[in-house]
Symmetry: C2
Subunit: 241 residues, 2 copies
């Protein structure tokens, strides 16, 4: 059916599920520093969220996953709630710094910057089953918990504003007729929706096909900036005078 997708299920980076064994240079046993232990427990929490979902994630699961004893979590984090907030905070920070660095890495051309932003969203580092499942778990609880809701604005206002600004500039560059704010909302929502589809894991939606779908949309919305070449892959057109 779909063209062979070499990845997305195989070597998915970011897999500290087997984080116990192999002291990879870092100190393990009793010697781990406070911050390292916290990090270790946060990773175990993400594992548990991804594997069992929010409602079935227990302190015991987390402790077991980290290879530690039951009571340890309440020592490093005051409560389960605090642990979960710290975990969400960690993921939100990671997501935020990820797109910011992608933007910094891109050039000055708005089209390049938009492309870079979209591509960043499908980077293996943050876009993989484990993290996606954890995000989804938090989203499900966000509406009824203000603390989560605030942090779940990973695609926060700053992120949204970048989209608006880019759409505004591109509109002038390409003489497009759209309303920048509305279109920016639609575009960022598309990325969120594609994440959602990836998370559900149904159909034959992979990270590749999702990214292609997003690229296809860019080519349709910004025809003066993105073109389709024969390989089916979409790329930015040559710079305009």
């Amino acid at each position: 059916m779909n063209t062979p997708q070499p990845d997305d299920e195989a070597p998915e980076i970011d897999k500290p599920a087997d984080q116990d064994r192999k002291g990879e240079g870092e100190r393990r046993g009793r010697k781990a520093s406070k911050e390292q232990r916290r990090q270790q427990l946060i990773e175990a929490t993400i594992d548990s969220l991804a594997k069992r979902g929010y409602s079935d994630t227990t302190m015991a699961d987390v402790a077991d996953g980290a290879g530690l004893s039951r009571g340890i979590v309440n020592f490093h984090f005051e409560s389960k709630e605090k642990l979960l907030v710290a975990t969400l905070q960690y993921m939100a920070d990671e997501y935020s710094s990820h797109w910011r660095s992608a933007l910094a890495r891109a050039g000055q051309e708005p089209a390049d910057r938009l492309w870079s932003l979209v591509a960043a969203d499908f980077d293996r580092v943050i876009c993989n089953k484990r993290k996606l499942a954890a995000w989804c778990a938090f989203w499900g609880e966000a509406k009824s918990r203000p603390t989560y809701q605030a942090l779940c604005g990973a695609r926060d206002e700053a992120y949204q504003q970048v989209f608006v600004d880019l759409c505004t500039v591109l509109k002038h560059e390409g003489d497009y007729g759209f309303e920048p704010k509305a279109l920016a909302l639609a575009l960022s929502a598309t990325l969120e929706g594609l994440w959602h589809r990836l998370m559900m894991g149904t159909e034959s939606v992979t990270r590749e096909t999702s990214f292609q779908a997003a690229a296809e949309l860019l080519a349709s919305v910004f025809p003066r900036h993105f073109v389709r070449d024969e390989t089916g892959v979409r790329r930015r057109a040559i710079k305009r005078p």
Copy 2:
């Protein structure tokens, strides 16, 4: 800041949170039929999911919300799990029949059908805080529960196929360059993403602005089929020969 949005918070239809009082013609007390009681409990479940989220939804909450005693749920539904599955099933059926009827109501013109499909997604009946929050609660648990995962495919394969078919026809009608399958994925993902944004309730995203964003996208992607008029509202252009 944002233009005054008259709705989305005020008269949101679909609010059986106060479903006890006022026997609106339907039989209440002991006389309610089996099916009516089930329906009543399902509505109470949606209420609880929306108000407290999945993990804090308890049998006692549901029973209290319905104004009945604790043990009643296990009588009509065998277990909590069964109750939740039935609730999800109910919502999935409602969503499915909603877009199907919207499609049936639309004419034969592909552009009309697509517009109708998009508009249906933002209909108050299914797109309101209560239902959205309930959907989100289930999504959060879907990945770790195959039963939920299957039902959560509200936007299932049939729905996706409709998008693909419409995109294919429109592509030929308008001589567009996109790849129908990829674009269809992007479009349906956009709707999902906008739902997600609405759910989070942050920013100034309302049902109106979300729909406008979707419409803006349609106008950008299918310029030969949709145009922007002075009111800012988007409409379908006149039929082509």
